[in-house]
Symmetry: C2
Subunit: 196 residues, 2 copies
DNA sequence: GATCGACTTGGTCAATCGTCCAAGTAATAG
DNA sequence: CTATTACTTGGACGATTGACCAAGTCGATC
């Protein structure tokens, strides 16, 4: 038999999970309390018991998912020895995101919602900054020229690819890998393959 | 004295302009017929007289704006002699888009809406494909290696920058220009400045 | 067994939603 | 002057919205 508190946490979690499904499915501003409760399999009134507002629920759900993806990237990078290996690894991870899958769309929906919600923007900026810093540190440790600027461009390019993929069948990892590899260079080095 | 037809076209135009304002402002799914009519300064019933549905109005408004931006890019590229000059020009044009301005947000909102509307997706794909082809043709004419793939990555990177700019103050044209310039190379050439 | 507090239920509230339409205006064609 | 046509008005329709709440359930504590 579960305690009330345990069941409460479970309901909270179910609502957050349902939100993570529904935001990509219907769009941020089209997720309603009732649809949310129905998807989570709980009563409608629970939304405003566990969360101060619908917006607060959506913010927490989105930041949860994005935070999890960011947290997974660090270890993935550390496993790679060279710049080329790291790029390979990131593109491999990107293959899981077709641009139409829920996580890709959730990312973009959250970027947009952040333009209209100051709290969300502040927390999202913190997550994106952490990702960029990790990437820049990894690049610098491997001799990459202008690591901060390269990390900024690389992070933007990866999200841009998620945005374009559903509209551009040519945008496969295999096709873009040779192009993105040109971004990776070492100071003074003339070779375009910096990872060797 | 204006004819009925002239006034009708004017109302249609006012509705499309109001939609182009409101989609970025409130989000695609949060634009309502009444808000739209109020912003356009016309009666609510006119929305469904001039358009079959609210969605059709939003689609047309968004594709109008995006089509206009795409149409402006061709001439801008043609003016540039070298690869470096062209990149410079594109980054200059990108400076008009802070990522928070209405046009930037409208782009992203439309990408997302296209994931949920087949008609919109088809027409948006056509526009993006045209932009990519123009860019690829321009790159090829100036000796760029793998022009199609480079154009795909460049187009995605530019949209990605629009997405990241509000969250990343370091993402200025000046900071990213040297990094993006690495993307431009000629076959067999070892120099990273291909435009000279 | 009584009391407490956390959690849940099912519903109300005013406001807004997309769509549709009957009636009205006014410029044009016969 | 009389249709005819295009455009406009203001409101009606049922459905849905975010927020809120009184009443009820139930395990934990004394």
């Amino acid at each position: 038999m579960k305690t009330s508190a345990e069941r409460g946490r479970e309901v909270r979690r179910k609502l957050l999970d349902a939100a993570a499904d529904l935001i990509p499915e219907r769009g941020w501003t089209a997720v309603s309390t009732r649809i949310l409760a129905e998807r989570a399999g709980v009563a409608p009134g629970l939304v405003h018991y566990h969360f101060p507002s619908l917006q607060a629920l959506l913010n927490e759900a989105a930041l949860d998912v994005i935070g999890r993806v960011v947290a997974e990237t660090g270890p993935l990078l550390e496993r790679a020895e060279t710049l080329d290996d790291g790029l390979e690894g990131m593109l491999g991870a990107l293959d899981a995101f077709t641009g139409s899958d829920p996580v890709s769309v959730l990312f973009t929906e959250t970027y947009l919602a952040a333009a209209r919600d100051e709290d969300l923007r502040r927390e999202l900026t913190a997550l994106v900054t952490r990702f960029r810093r990790e990437l820049a540190g990894w690049l610098r440790a491997r001799g990459q020229e202008a690591p901060e600027e390269t990390a900024s461009v690389l992070a933007a390019a990866l999200d841009g690819m998620m945005l374009h993929r559903p509209l551009n069948p040519e945008l496969t990892s295999a096709a873009v890998a040779p192009v993105l590899r040109r971004l990776l260079t070492r100071p003074g080095g003339d070779d375009r393959r910096a990872g060797g």
